[in-house]
């Protein structure tokens, strides 16, 4: 995966567009964003600009496959972004809020799977010499973050749609989460140090990450779902920054930092959405 992203010239312009858009969406303190629709348009423009740049600078062998996959993924999105609520009245604000959080959970599922697959690809495309320890570390960390994010998003989605029974967090659950996290981090470190035993160590780590995601999403009261979502969005941001390091792209590094900073504010506190007032 050490590919060298040759898009940083365009990346600077995209970064300027993204920063302007962030300012346009959260610029004023008086509660009225200056030009929110234009800001969202600018964000979409930056994404399309970067995608065009990546596809344009490639050798053309996988361009068609990439375009097909992007179109397929985008065509699924209307089904995952729609408002739906299983047992609650769709018009109630609580039901609508759960519906938005359910959409966010689906975003973390998609992002988590993507990060995990990229980490796995990075592991198998990196040689296991001593000097590539940083690439191995990033691959293993990406795999761990991706699987954890996927499992937490899935459990959260199941809870928000009431496929799982309500649970009350206990002190024991918190201790188990810390123990499993420590064990998974230890296994990840061993994988980086001893790549010869990587298959079994990574398998165990993935299993622990799945369990960790389930525990961390089930061991909370559902009103703290935004905290879990914010934490995992921040982890996806950290993964983007790490991918930026691997691909030698300052654009991805800066963007990952921005996402981490944006997600930090959701580890505590509450959020509310205007969409909860609207109906389909």
């Amino acid at each position: 995966m050490n590919v060298g992203l040759q898009i940083d010239l365009v990346g600077w312009f995209a970064l300027i567009a993204i920063l302007t858009a962030v300012h346009g969406l959260s610029g004023q303190k008086s509660g009225h964003a200056p030009w929110p629709r234009g800001a969202v348009g600018l964000l979409v423009f930056a994404l399309i600009l970067m995608l065009s740049s990546v596809l344009w600078t490639s050798d053309g062998s996988n361009t068609l496959l990439a375009c097909i996959m992007i179109l397929l993924g985008s065509s699924v999105a209307p089904f995952t972004a729609r408002h739906h609520s299983r047992n609650k009245a769709a018009t109630s604000p609580q039901g609508n809020q759960d519906s938005i959080l359910s959409g966010l959970a689906l975003i973390t599922i998609g992002g988590g799977v993507s990060v995990a697959l990229l980490g796995l690809t990075g592991w198998y495309e990196t040689d296991h010499s001593f000097y590539t320890w940083d690439l191995r570390l990033i691959a293993v960390t990406s795999l761990f973050i991706g699987v954890w994010t996927f499992a937490a998003g899935l459990m959260l989605w199941l809870r928000l749609n009431e496929y799982l029974p309500k649970s009350t967090p206990t002190q024991t659950q918190q201790r188990v989460v810390i123990a499993v996290l420590t064990l998974a981090l230890g296994l990840g470190a061993l994988t980086v140090v001893y790549p010869a035993y990587a298959n079994i160590l990574m398998g165990l780590m993935v299993l622990l990450a799945l369990e960790l995601g389930a525990l961390s999403a089930l061991g909370i009261v559902i009103t703290r779902a935004t905290c879990v979502l914010g934490r995992h969005l921040g982890m996806i941001g950290a993964a983007i920054a790490m991918l930026g390091y691997v691909q030698a792209s300052l654009f991805l590094l800066a963007l990952g930092g921005l996402i981490v900073a944006g997600a930090v504010h959701y580890l505590r506190g509450t959020v509310d959405f205007y969409q909860t007032n609207s109906t389909d």
Binding site: L25, I107, S114, L117, Q247, I259, A261, V264, G269, Y274
Partner: protein
């Protein structure tokens, strides 16, 4: 890439993001969460870059699936953000004589009883503040 340059870039971006995202009241933070999700959709760029530079068949399959899921996540995030933007003006048209929305007035389901979590309640004029 030089790790020191990478670390400096990430630190500067985090500091910039902390100063930019911190603004806004409790209701705006919902929008900021969706904004963070939309920015996380830029994982699509990294995934596409990995795919177009991939050489092995196994790597191509894995990164193609990564692009698929990243595209789904990015488009969903932009849809939710756009819907939030479109819904915002209807909920916050100020009425004459009403107080502007402040974080104190904005409520959330977590901190308020179920009957008081409607956004309309946050925009209702406070009688004591509306009177001169």
């Amino acid at each position: 890439m030089d790790p020191v340059i990478a670390l400096y870039t990430v630190l500067l971006a985090v500091a910039l993001g902390l100063s930019g995202f911190v603004r806004g009241d409790a209701r705006r933070r919902g929008r900021s969460l969706l904004l963070a999700a939309a920015l996380a959709g830029f994982i699509l760029v990294a995934a596409t870059s990995a795919l177009v530079n991939c050489t092995t068949v196994a790597g191509m399959i894995l990164t193609a699936l990564a692009v698929l899921f990243a595209a789904q996540a990015a488009t969903t995030a932009f849809s939710l953000l756009w819907r939030e933007i479109c819904c915002a003006p209807a909920a916050r048209i100020p009425q004459p004589g009403t107080a502007p929305i402040t974080p104190r007035n904005a409520v959330s389901p977590e901190t308020s009883p179920p009957g008081h979590s409607s956004p309309e309640n946050a925009t209702q004029p406070n009688p004591t503040e509306a009177r001169p």
